[in-house]
Every structure is written in structure tokens, then in C-alpha cells.
Symmetry: C2
């Protein structure tokens, strides 16, 4: 392919992003080349700045700028519930529902003994510390429905219940718009198990 050295470097760097192959990277690079200077500078600046500006919230370990994230420093959010997620992206997904007004706690992973990830590699100790402060009435565990996510949920439940705090797990079942006929057997089994009286 005929690319100038600067374009080739950009195509290579863009091609390392997830889901961006060489063809898409070339299209994006040519777009950037033709875009106006203000936009290109703001894009480069935003990429540069995001790592420097972003910290982990010292309370929930979600993404923040400074000590506390916008949720932990929001007095409108209820201190009585903590939703436990694996990653910051999961926190964002729950926030998008606009249904939940409590706190969060980001584990930054799941228990995976085969990969050498035990409780000490996750933000579990700070979670227990938060719970011991005594304002929390319920912990909602929203780890992914994978083997590791389930194991982590069970592990946390065993630790938290003795503190006299209610522990719940988000529901698993047929997604809205899904199809009973085509959903996989494990999900359908969970949906029947988790049925609710109407």
C-alpha cells in the first residue's frame, strides 16, 4: 500500500484499537488528514489528556478526576445501597438505566484462581471497610453471569451476609425483546427459576 510515513504510523496506531482493522484504520487516517486542524488537535489532546486526568475514586474505585467520583460526591445518591460491578464500563451501563440512585463499588476484575487473581487483587477489602461504616442496608451484586462472575458473587455474599446486610444478585433471564424459542437453555432455566408472581 502506498502510504506516506506519517500516514503509515497513524494507520498502525489506529489499527491497534479494538475492532479497528487495517481498512478502517486507513479510512479513519485519511479522514483525520482531511479534517480541520481544530478538530484534529482536540482529538489528539483528548487522547493525551484522558490518562493524565483520570483517577480512581478513593471510595468506590470508579473513574474520577480527583479524589471522589461524581457519584460518591453527590449528596442526592442514597448511601443505603451499593451496587458491586466488575469494571467501570459496567457502572456506566447501570447508570444508563437511570433506575438506580445508590452507590457503586468497582472490583476491577473477578476472582480467577487459574489466572492468579484472588481476593487481594480485587477491591474487596475496601468494600468491606465501607460496609463496616454501617450506613449500607443492601449490596446488589452485578458481576457478569460468567463462571468467574458467579463465583465472585457467591464469595462476596458469604463475606457480607454475616455483617447483617442484605445481599442481592441482579436478575438473569430472557432479555426484553428476546424470544423464548431461541434463547439458550441456561438462560431459560434461570428465567424459570427466577419467576415472579404476577
Amino acid at each position: 500500500m502506498h502510504l506516506t510515513p506519517a500516514l503509515a504510523r497513524l494507520v498502525q496506531a489506529l489499527g491497534k484499537l479494538p475492532g479497528i482493522g487495517e481498512k478502517t484504520a486507513t479510512r479513519l487516517a485519511l479522514h483525520i488528514l482531511n479534517a480541520d486542524r481544530d478538530y484534529v488537535e482536540s482529538l489528539a489532546e483528548a487522547i493525551w489528556a484522558v490518562k493524565a486526568a483520570t483517577t480512581l475514586c478513593q471510595e468506590c474505585f470508579g473513574l474520577a478526576e480527583g479524589e471522589l467520583c461524581s457519584i460518591c460526591s453527590d449528596p442526592q445518591r442514597s448511601p443505603e445501597a451499593i451496587c458491586v460491578v466488575e469494571e467501570p464500563a459496567d457502572l456506566m451501563a447501570v447508570e444508563r438505566t437511570h433506575d438506580y440512585r445508590g452507590q457503586y463499588h468497582v472490583l476491577h476484575g473477578v476472582l480467577a484462581p487459574l489466572d492468579g487473581i484472588g481476593p487481594d487483587e480485587l477491591k474487596i477489602a475496601p468494600l468491606l471497610e465501607r460496609l463496616r461504616r454501617g450506613r449500607t442496608k443492601e449490596v446488589i451484586i452485578a458481576t457478569n453471569p460468567t463462571v468467574e462472575g458467579e463465583a465472585t458473587a457467591l464469595y462476596l455474599a458469604k463475606l457480607i451476609k454475616p455483617l447483617g446486610i442484605r445481599v442481592s444478585r441482579i436478575a438473569h433471564g430472557i432479555p426484553m425483546g428476546g424470544d423464548v424459542e431461541y434463547v439458550d437453555a441456561v438462560t431459560l432455566g434461570r428465567a424459570i427459576e427466577g419467576r415472579r408472581e404476577m
Copy 2:
């Protein structure tokens, strides 16, 4: 959505790239946040540098760094043929075939009178100047098979033929791996018109 200000700026900037919606932009931004510092700096630097480093070749108006592009300064390339394309991306597409060893000329657009784009807005005068130097034996017109691309091809052919230079148009027909049954009627018509003896 719960995003820190720096992440929100990055999502917004990435979301302006073609084919990147808000969801993909968020995924890319989180990837960049977690990527190692060296990579992030090289990506920002590559974006920053591409506009500054890239020039137009003074001979063919393809992308270059400096006065001449790598094709125009390559003594191995035949000076006898010039392939005329609309945009630098088209030049790259022809180069990917590895079939063509001549020169190029990038018009930077097509004739579009309704949009106010006439011959003076395109790199047509420098093309004629190159042809008058007398080394070119054939001009291959590879504008797109659109109304404007066809009109531009006809316009160029009328200008170039009086110079005693052969003018050809790239073939249009059924793409390799395509299907006679499903190809559109215009393309099939062109394929029959352009048939070759076996």
C-alpha cells in the same frame, strides 16, 4: 451516562470520526484509558503529526512528505502511463493491486457543475502540463463509475486525445466473485458491452 469530563471529551471527539457512534467511541475511549502510556502517546502524536507532515506531491498531487511522493521519485516506475484518479484513497486502491507500475495524477474531485466545481477547481491544468512534456503514451482514467466520474472521464478524453496520447477507461463489469443473477442491470449492461474475445 456517567463519564468523567476528560472521558466525555474523548468520547465526543472519537464520535465525530466516520462510522464511529457513541457506543463504539465509549469502548475505544475506555480502551485508550487502560492502554499503556507509550501506545497512547504514540497514537496522540501520530494524529497530531499527520496533518503537519503530509503535503501534496507537486507532480501528481498524491500524498507526500516533501516535494515529490514516493511514486513520482521512483525511477523504476514507467513514465509512459498516467493513471488519473479522483482522490488519494483511489491511488492507494490501485497500488494495492500491485498490477500497475506507471505514474498517477490525483484530480482532488470530479466535475460537478451543480456544486460549482468546474475544471479550474480540479488539478486538470497541471495534468495537461505534464502531458505536454511528451513522455506520456497513455492516460488511464480511473474516476468512479458515477455520473460525475463518467462526465469527468469524457471531458478529460476530449482534452487529451488531440495531444496524440492514447486515453483509456478502466473496465466496469461483474466484480470477481460476483453473481450474474444478482448484479444490477447497469453493471451487467456494461459487462456485456465491454465483453472481450476469449
